[in-house]
């Protein structure tokens, strides 16, 4: 009954089989080759380090389907459907290779008919098919009935129609493939007079067909017809996928393989040689699509349009035009438009020529400046992205170009950056500002001077040293450190900024100079360990300074205090008697995975009743102050991110919002003030509560 060994119109079946196969895979490979060549337009970047670990990570994430299951919640179960489809089609793919490719195509049998392996594998396929059908139905309901916000896009009607036709064809194809499978296998079992309860559905179908009295000839003819239809449908899918977002099994996996290590967001320094090059030959940051690295372009292919980033972005949720999804999709569209001509021009005398067919400028037409300046770099988008897309890296690269080459930025950003450049901190001009280091007066603290040597440095950070409200937390911190017997020094008025606001705002060289200066200073005092109160300083020094030769042990104070509490070095005895909630700072939580320590400290304070907000830990909502946005004005006419967050705090019914970041504290103080909630809600830093709780009565 083998369809391939039969002859059709005088042509042997296997010739047709391989001819169709060659055509379909020819188209597939041609397209994939084109897409990979487009990646080659990008700048080089080394993501091939630790390859073994990368492969292990990718297999673990993919095979376990953690990528799609990590975001499953009661509100959104589609990750489960995706996992079922992935595993189901995985089983089918192997099945197609074994039973269609090898057995029919080459005549090689990996197992004899009726063997235990075949029984088990076919049962697996049998059940997988059912799960796939259920998952497709779930996906279709999701898309056409419940319509979650994340799947909605503002598209023109024509594009939306095309997209709909594609999706419906896809759903139909998947269901047809499964139905064809049952049908074929049922007929095959019936034809061979096999009665079995495993595989169950095929078995039941076989007994039904056997009992229906259909002749062997019709069974055989029907089998052949369906077999060829099934084969055509499969090859159709092979042709279709690389022309659609459904190539993501390939590119998303590749993207997970090449994901950044270490911090959530890895930014590459701009090599200083870039400035030695003749003017115009090197772009600072990214102004054209080919300025991105190949990995940043791969991100564009990896997007599955799932929209999770879109519905988790604080800028988007507060009414700003920024949408991480739209940035990725618009850049991809731009790459597809500009790519062919760029490829044609590649290798000619001027590889940088703008394609003639393209009048679009990337910054402005493809990604608007206001979108670029709305990002708080909170990484909520990257946290939920199933494909490990690096949205923030792109935003920063675009900012770099705006700031370093075009000198275009919001006035508020310019003021902050000028302060960074001239005064070494971002806070000048702020009311109730203090002088650097004046908080150390009247305190018995070791302020480092030339020639000193100390193992542990307490890095105060600009906000903790200069802003009145935050100095309170700094003073509490020094008391806690002393009470715990830590031998530490501070830099006093010699401390400058760690460089984070400059880097996030795209002022990369300023950051690099500050990093180099700080590292040099740390080395001159023989500093080995740095304690920070600011998660932004923490992240910068821990993950970004090593690239500039600064390898220090960097500790956030919540890690340290949690340790002291666990070891019994700190006794928290005074009751707090308050209902409070903990707001996860983005750079502590999502960037560095520190969720447990701060909560453990709060739980150790007697009578502190910790309530969790709806959005917390990995899903924590930004305070609005990261990425330089502490100083950059939010898009006019939109809700302030800090106001939205403080409303959430208010809803949780607590009397205190506790954080572990000076920016969060600042943003909350402002928001509480603005909302007139001063009487009912207080913003505190964990260390202040710790200090109060350890006081002797």
């Amino acid at each position: 009954m083998s369809p391939v060994s039969a002859t059709y119109w005088g042509i042997p079946g296997y010739v047709i089989f391989w001819a169709l196969f060659a055509i379909a895979f020819g188209i597939f490979i041609r397209r994939v080759y084109f897409l990979i060549r487009l990646l080659g337009l990008g700048k080089p970047e080394n993501r091939f380090d630790q390859l073994r670990q990368r492969i292990i990570d990718m297999l673990a994430i993919n095979l376990s389907q953690w990528c799609s299951l990590k975001t499953v919640s009661f509100k959104d179960l589609s990750g489960i459907g995706h996992a079922l489809m992935f595993w189901g089609f995985g089983v089918f793919l192997i099945g197609y290779v074994l039973f269609m490719g090898l057995r029919e195509g080459f005549g090689i049998s990996v197992s004899s008919a009726g063997s235990l392996f075949e029984k088990i594998y076919l049962s697996l396929m049998d059940l997988s098919a059912l799960l796939i059908i259920l998952a497709v139905i779930q996906a279709a309901i999701k898309r056409y009935v419940t319509k979650p916000e994340r799947l909605e896009r503002k598209e023109d009607p024509k594009e939306a129609l095309i997209e709909n036709i594609k999706m419906i064809s896809l759903f139909t194809t998947m269901i047809l493939l499964m139905l064809f499978y049952y049908w074929m296998e049922g007929i095959r079992y019936a034809f061979n007079n096999i009665t079995t309860s495993w595989p169950p559905i095929t078995g039941a179908l076989a007994s039904f067909l056997a009992g229906s009295g259909i002749s062997q000839e019709s069974l055989s003819a029907t089998y052949k017809t369906i077999w060829w239809l099934n084969y055509l449908l499969l090859l159709g899918a092979v042709v279709y996928t690389p022309h659609s977002k459904h190539l993501h099994p390939l590119f998303s996996s590749a993207n997970i393989l090449f994901k950044p290590f270490g911090s959530k967001v890895v930014l590459e320094p701009i090599p200083l040689e870039a400035l030695e090059a003749p003017e115009g030959s090197v772009t600072l940051g990214v102004s054209k699509i080919q300025d991105f690295s190949w990995k940043q372009l791969l991100d564009l292919y990896a997007c599955t349009w799932c929209g999770r980033c879109h519905v988790n972005c604080p800028a988007q949720l507060t009414g700003k035009t920024l949408s991480p999804r739209e940035i990725i999709l618009n850049l991809k569209e731009h790459l597809m438009e500009a790519g062919p001509e760029l490829l044609a021009n590649k290798g000619t005398s001027s590889p940088e020529v703008q394609p003639k067919t393209m009048s679009k400028t990337m910054i402005g037409d493809v990604v608007a400046e206001e979108e670029i300046w709305a990002c708080t770099t909170c990484a909520a988008c990257q946290e939920v992205c199933p494909s490990n897309i690096e949205h923030i890296r792109k935003v920063i690269e675009l900012r770099r170009n705006l700031v370093l080459e075009q000198s275009k930025m919001p006035e508020s950003a310019q003021l902050m950056l000028r302060n960074m450049q001239q005064r070494g901190h971002p806070w000048a001009g702020v009311q109730s500002m203090r002088l650097r280091g004046d908080w150390t007066s009247d305190l018995d603290i070791k302020v480092l001077t030339d020639g000193d040597s100390v193992n542990t440095l307490f890095w105060v950070g600009c906000t903790g040293a200069l802003v009145e409200r935050n100095v309170k937390a700094t003073l509490a911190m020094t008391k806690v450190l002393k009470a715990s017997g830590v031998d530490f020094g501070v830099l006093g008025d010699a401390e400058t900024c760690c460089g984070d606001p400059a880097r996030r705002a795209g002022y990369e060289f300023q950051f690099q100079m500050m990093a180099e200066q700080n590292i040099e200073m740390f080395k001159s005092f023989n500093i080995k360990e740095i304690i920070t109160t600011c998660p932004h300083c923490f992240n910068t020094m821990k993950h970004e300074y090593p690239k500039f030769g600064g390898d220090f042990k960097v500790v956030h104070y919540t890690e340290l205090i949690a340790d002291f509490v666990r070891q019994g070095k700190l006794n928290l005895t005074q009751a707090l008697n308050a209902k409070l909630t903990y707001h996860d700072p983005c750079y502590l939580g999502r960037y560095n995975g520190i969720y447990h320590d701060p909560r453990q400290i709060l739980e150790a304070i007697p009578k502190a009743k910790l309530e969790e907000m709806e959005r917390s830990k990995e899903q924590g909502f930004c305070c609005g102050g990261g990425g330089g946005l502490m100083w950059i004005e939010e898009q006019p006419g939109t809700t302030k991110i800090s106001h939205m967050r403080i409303e959430e705090v208010h809803k949780s019914g607590v009397e205190m919002v506790v954080s572990a970041c000076p920016y969060c504290l600042q943003m909350f103080e402002d928001a509480i003030d603005h909302k007139g909630m001063k009487e009912s809600l207080k913003a505190r830093d964990i260390v202040e509560l710790v200090e109060e709780s350890m006081k002797k009565s």
Binding site: V403, E405, L417, R418, Q421, R434, L435, A494
Partner: protein, 264 residues
């Protein structure tokens, strides 16, 4: 078009008023620790004006600053914005000079540099605010002076200057070379770009002493100073806070406007 810009390094005007201290005995300001001095606000705008002209007409910008060795920082800042060269004029004889002495030193340095089409200064310095050096310097160099510029254009080998006035502006023309003092209305100075930051970092800034510019001792002699500081005291600050209200935002705005009109 070759421009020379005179810049001054001053105590950061952003220092919180409460932290501002003076020594009445020596009649000098005591710089607070941990606050780096900065380029004087209007001088930075003068550099910006020079850069805008250079963007259009090419040429060279040279920046000079009389002050301590730390003034290298303000020169480097100007270079990061787009200036080409810079010199620090530092000598014990230059310390605590009045406007005349300062203009004399700057004039000597400018004569040494030579070959200029335009001299730019800030309208006044952010610390003492005398606003005299520019005009005296023009007198010393025997070139025309135009003050309070908010826009400078080079038109047919002449300079067309928009001068800010109390009730608007006027447009005047001056030949090259002239000296122009620049006002804040010219706009925000540019943020130094990547290229500028790195250029400035590498640049060696020469320091010129009195003998390098051929300055005579007599104009630098404090006995010949035209200005004497008799006393120095902190201004007293009084703030009164009043909330202007109204039944509607519109009414509140009207009330506020009326109050402001009365205060003007």
């Amino acid at each position: 078009m070759n421009t020379i810009v005179c810049v001054k390094q001053v105590l950061d005007p952003e220092i919180p008023p409460a932290k501002f201290k003076i020594d009445p005995g020596t009649k000098q300001v005591i710089p607070p620790p941990g606050v780096p001095p900065v380029i004087s606000v209007f001088d930075e705008r003068a550099v910006e004006a020079a850069c805008r002209l250079k963007d259009k007409h090419k040429g060279k910008i040279t920046v000079i600053s009389m002050g301590s060795a730390k003034a290298v920082d303000v020169i480097k800042h100007a270079i990061s914005m787009g200036a080409d060269d810079g010199y620090v004029l530092q000598d014990p004889a230059f310390e605590n000079l009045d406007s005349f002495g300062t203009a004399y030193v700057l004039g000597k340095a400018i004569q040494k540099i030579g070959n200029y089409d335009l001299i730019l200064c800030g309208r006044y310095s952010a610390d003492w605010g005398a606003g005299q050096v520019g005009s005296i310097l023009a007198e010393i160099l025997s070139i025309p002076v135009v003050t309070f510029a908010c826009d400078i254009q080079a038109v047919n080998k002449n300079l067309r200057i928009k001068r800010i006035m109390k009730d608007g502006y006027e447009v005047v023309e001056a030949p090259m070379p002239s000296l122009i003092t620049v006002s804040g209305e010219i706009g925000l100075p540019r943020l130094p770009g990547g290229m500028g930051l790195m250029l400035a970092r590498k640049k060696q800034i020469p320091i010129w002493k009195a003998q390098d510019i051929g300055a005579d001792p007599s104009p630098l002699d404090k006995a010949n100073a035209h200005i004497e500081v008799t006393s120095l005291s902190l201004p007293t600050r009084k703030t009164e806070c009043e909330f202007v209200t109204g039944n509607t935002p519109g009414e509140a705005a009207v009330n506020l406007a009326q109050k402001l009109v009365r205060l003007m």
